[in-house]
């Protein structure tokens, strides 16, 4: 294996990526899956984790382009150069460009996107070309590579671990943070009267208040909430979440961002996630959800989207008929849009901006209006 001259590498282990331009050769979700699968190839042999951004600057920007496309390496039509990528660093470093004059496919009938993406990601992480013809990082595309199951060669593993070391300790050892993160400048302040939340969920009798890349962890037996980075407990979860809820009976917290959802049990993100939110039964028009809460008695989960809400039956694991309905009709006094919601002591607590509405689902009325941060002992 080889690294780039000067051995550039990322100084952090959690990286972000964003798909800027798609190819028309494949459906978008096929491109998304190929990129996710390629990322997993490197995640499995290093401490690195990746999360996807849908806006703003990510470490690794991915685009399908043709011919001259704004850098010094124009593409050359079908064949020959398939793609290129830049070594770790700021700005365009780390980025990946695919030549959209190729015929990108999920199998090897054309140019297999997963295989080329895994190779180019090797460059984005700091690997140069390898002389080993068996290695993924060999420069010549080998369409006969056995894709199922795909395995990195030892040469690739030696190369990437020379930069980042082996994967973190086995998942059995929980990532228990030694102390909560002191709030540094630029981090959300719990007693800011204008504080709003991205998402809130219960977890095994505690409450998690998510904001940006952090969360406050509140339990009933201590007054002062702990303050942590989301990535301390769940490195592969994104920041700026949209919603979260606990399915008590299955001891799982579901976390939502954009059109994806993750399932976490304790410290563990469950295999097979993220999944698309449409697997729950949302219509394609729903691009993201604002808030979610599961009524553990009735085994019904409520999903709030702008002015409306859906109800999901946890027993049949399906979205109920007759939805969406207007929030104003069934939760009078709750002001959309709902940022976050959770259930406690038989009430639903709805959060909208810096206001919190305590809602009695039996009396069907708001019983108290509070400041959003009233749970954080200000």
């Amino acid at each position: 294996f080889n690294t780039f001259p000067g051995m550039p590498k990322w100084r952090k282990t959690h990286l972000t990526y964003r798909i800027m331009k798609y190819t028309t050769d494949l459906p978008r979700n096929a491109v998304d899956s190929a990129i996710e699968k390629a990322l997993k190839v490197w995640e499995e042999v290093t401490p690195l984790t990746f999360s996807r951004l849908y806006e703003g600057e990510a470490d690794i920007l991915i685009s399908f382009v043709v011919k001259e496309h704004g850098d010094f390496y124009s593409f050359d039509g079908p064949g020959y150069s398939l793609a290129h990528a830049y070594p770790p660093g700021p700005g365009f470093y780390g980025d990946i460009h695919f030549d959209d004059d190729e015929n990108w496919t999920e199998d090897t009938s054309g140019t297999n996107l997963f295989l080329v993406a895994a190779h180019e990601l090797g460059h984005s992480l700091g690997l140069f070309h390898s002389a080993n013809p068996e290695a993924l990082m060999h420069p010549v595309y080998n369409s006969f590579t056995d894709l199922r199951p795909f395995r990195l060669s030892q040469d690739d593993v030696n190369g990437i671990q020379s930069l980042y070391g082996p994967p973190r300790a086995s998942p059995e050892e929980p990532l228990v943070p030694t102390k909560s993160v002191p709030s540094a400048p630029g981090t959300p302040a719990k007693c800011d009267t204008a504080l709003s939340f991205d998402a809130i969920s219960t977890l095994r009798g505690e409450y998690l208040f998510f904001k940006d890349g952090y969360f406050w962890r509140k339990s009933n037996w201590n007054l002062e909430p702990e303050f942590h980075l989301i990535s301390t407990f769940w490195p592969s979860l994104p920041s700026y979440l949209d919603a979260a809820y606990e399915d008590n009976s299955r001891d799982i917290v579901f976390v939502f961002k954009g059109n994806e959802l993750w399932a976490i049990r304790g410290n563990e993100v469950q295999a097979g996630y993220p999944r698309g939110i449409h697997t729950l039964g949302f219509p394609p028009a729903v691009k993201k959800i604002d808030a979610a809460v599961s009524d553990k008695e009735k085994k019904k989960t409520y999903f709030f989207v702008e002015q409306k809400y859906w109800r999901f039956d946890e027993n049949s694991r399906s979205m109920e008929q007759g939805f969406p309905r207007l929030i104003a009709d069934d939760f009078p006094g709750v002001k959309p849009k709902v940022d976050a919601v959770f259930q406690a002591f038989g009430f639903f607590y709805f959060f909208s901006g810096s206001s919190q509405f305590e809602f009695d689902p039996n009396a069907k009325m708001v019983t108290r209006i509070l400041k959003s941060n009233s749970w954080l002992h200000c």
Partner: protein, 82 residues
């Protein structure tokens, strides 16, 4: 005289090789040369560098294996750091 078939093919192989080596091996085509010589020291060295990195027999010549690899699809990142 019109180029004979063999000479024409040799010429196009030379084009391919110069493009490939220029793109991936930082070969600076020597503009002072009036006649492109496939045995110019510069080209031979670049061909050997490519054959070595890509696991081919290091002959320094544009043999069929080497030409075949030059025609194969590959990553656009150069093999010799630009």
């Amino acid at each position: 005289y019109p180029l004979s078939g063999a000479a024409k093919e040799e010429d196009s192989n030379m084009d391919l090789a110069q493009q490939y080596l220029g793109k991936y091996y930082n070969l600076k085509t020597d503009t002072k040369q009036f006649v492109r010589r496939k045995d110019s020291n510069l080209i031979v060295k670049n061909i050997q560098g490519m054959q070595k990195l890509l696991g081919l027999e290091v002959t320094g010549k544009l043999d069929s294996d080497t030409l075949e690899v030059m025609r194969q699809p590959r990553c656009g990142v150069p093999d010799v750091g630009h």
